[in-house]
């Protein structure tokens, strides 16, 4: 089986982000960047399938500026075999990303495409589902368990009511949730080895996809600030406050 994993370079999830005062967006200059956490779970799932003998090739694809090489290298160090960077300097909407990935799927013909369920910058949670539509493949989003059974997958999904299990024939698209696995930290020899693995850099224009945005971002603003409140000193005081609040609550 051949697996394609799409990964995104984002502002590191531990960085407290700052909205630019002019409302043009979030400050990304001089901010630590890393692989989107959900993408790491997708890479780990692919590597585990390969280690179990279920996959013989893992291809990593990322779309973004030249620096996105870093996250591809991270994935190669985790155990993937080769990388493709679709180099694009401008911000791209999720539909454009999905169209570009559909072109890569057409070229590579993977049996399984793994993605993170969402990127922690725009929190969209679109691309896997869109890619599934564009490639006319079944999808299993928010996966917390993936089992391969011959030429079909059994995926457990994290949903609002708990979990559910679905079966889907390959080829298919699966997006990873956090409890799918624990991503490994690549050991130094693997990091060194990653640098010698093939990594193709392809200009985005090569794919013939219309890159123009459909939406206009008017502004980006910080959320309303919460002011610090009061500290009470006893359980009785707290109970009185809660009781008052609850009794005054509007019934809906």
């Amino acid at each position: 089986m051949k697996i394609l994993v799409a990964v995104k370079r984002v502002v590191d999830h531990n960085v407290r982000i700052r909205v630019r005062p002019d409302g043009s967006g979030v400050e990304t200059n001089g901010v630590r960047m890393s692989m989107n956490p959900f993408c790491k779970h997708a890479v780990e799932a692919a590597v585990q399938l390969a280690e179990a003998g279920a996959a013989d090739e893992i291809v990593i694809v990322s779309i973004g500026p030249k620096q996105s090489n870093d996250v591809i290298l991270t994935a190669l160090a985790m155990g993937a075999h080769r990388g493709i960077l679709v180099e694009a300097d401008q911000p791209l909407e999720t539909l454009v990303i999905a169209k570009l990935l559909a072109k890569v799927v057409e070229e590579e013909q993977p049996d399984l495409v793994l993605l993170g369920k969402q990127a922690v910058d725009d929190d969209s949670n679109h691309v896997g589902q869109m890619l599934a539509a564009l490639t006319n493949r079944p999808q299993a989003t928010f996966a917390s368990e993936i089992k391969l059974d011959g030429h079909a997958l059994e995926v457990t999904r994290e949903v609002d009511s708990g979990r559910e299990t679905i079966a889907l024939p390959l080829p298919a698209i699966v997006t990873a949730d956090l409890r799918l696995n624990t991503p490994r930290n690549a050991a130094l020899p693997m990091v060194m080895k990653a640098r010698s693995k093939p990594l193709a850099v392809r200009p985005v224009a090569e794919f013939g996809v219309d890159l123009s945005p459909r939406l206009t971002v008017e502004k980006v603003s910080p959320p309303p600030e919460r002011a610090a409140g009061v500290t009470v000193n006893s359980v009785a005081e707290l109970a009185a406050i809660i009781a008052t609040d609850v009794n005054e609550m509007e019934a809906i």
């Binding site: 949670n125 539509a133 999808q139 999904r157 009511s161 910080p222």
Partner: protein
């Protein structure tokens, strides 16, 4: 032209969040609600104020089938919308790509016919977007909107559609409980990893029960196995907007704070006065949760809070 809204169903019953997303959708035009489930759920959807018509279809649980069904109905509408629930998140981007539309999702405010506000970066920034496309595919965060009233009697039309899916539903593993739904609850009691065990969460649940509250948990508490995954509140779990949120032993990781920003009032119970969540709480009590919780529950029982 108007809005085609996918009803939110929970185990075949109409979810309380449907009335909330109906209120959001009604700001954009007359609303037809699609109910792919039991007839009783369709009849209940017909009572929601502002609904012009209910479209009742056979039960569909999987994204490809639901997206196909919505796509087959799309022509008559300029907005196709759903809740930003795990169902809406699964289905709507797939539908959007089928229709070659860039969707706008997780909308928390409607500022005009095609102007919407959505949180990004775990709610640490708000993005205002204009969507000039002819047709819009949208999801609304139910917790950000007040529910539409009931008392309507909209007509119910049954659709004769066959829904096919390449995937196959095997089983649902539902968390059994009689606790109110987190994403629409008026009061939520949440526990963090300091609660220490599933046993410790019983104290959190007891307080919740006294208040008629839903129970939430942080990602760390869920990862540690103290609470089921559908209790998780945060960037990657549920987004809540209760009138009152009581955070017990929660330090306030960024990704958890993302899920509670819509709470009107926050009360923190924590040993650490410097915890980020204590810093943003309206009321804080510093101390050991294992001592405080039983006392607090007993006090509230005694004072006879009525919900």
């Amino acid at each position: 032209m108007g809005v085609l809204l996918l009803a939110e169903l929970d185990n075949g019953a109409l979810s309380a969040s449907t009335a909330r997303i109906a209120a959001a959708a009604a700001q954009l035009g007359p609303v037809d609600i699609l109910v792919p489930g039991p007839r009783a759920a369709a009849d209940q959807a017909a009572t929601i104020a502002g609904v012009a018509k209910v479209l009742h279809a056979k039960e569909a649980l999987l994204a490809d089938g639901l997206a196909d069904l919505l796509a087959s109905l799309a022509e008559g509408y300029n907005v196709i919308a759903a809740s930003a629930s795990t169902t809406g998140k699964d289905v709507m981007p797939r539908l959007a790509a089928k229709l070659d539309i860039q969707p706008v999702t997780d909308i928390v405010a409607v500022e005009g016919a095609n102007r919407f506000v959505r949180p990004i970066y775990a709610g640490n920034a708000l993005e205002t977007v204009t969507d000039p496309q002819q047709k819009h595919v949208l999801t609304f965060r139910a917790s950000a909107f007040r529910p539409a009233a009931s008392g309507n009697a909209a007509p119910v039309e049954t659709l004769d559609t066959e829904i096919a899916s390449a995937a196959r539903f095997i089983a649902a593993h539902r968390t059994q409980s009689d606790i109110p739904d987190l994403s629409t609850a008026q009061i939520v009691v949440g526990g963090g990893v300091s609660v220490g065990s599933a046993e410790g969460f019983k104290l959190v649940e007891a307080l919740g029960k006294t208040l008629g509250a839903a129970v939430g948990a942080t990602r760390a508490a869920v990862d540690a196995g103290y609470a089921p995954n559908d209790w998780q509140v945060g960037q990657t779990g549920k987004i809540i907007a209760p009138d009152l949120y009581i955070a017990v032993g929660i330090s306030g990781a960024l990704q958890h704070l993302a899920g509670i920003q819509g709470a009107k009032k926050i009360i923190a119970i924590n040993t650490d006065p410097e915890a980020p969540l204590v810093k943003i709480a309206d009321v804080a009590l510093i101390g050991d949760l294992f001592e405080i919780l039983p006392q607090l529950t007993a006090e509230l029982e005694k004072s006879g809070v009525k919900r």
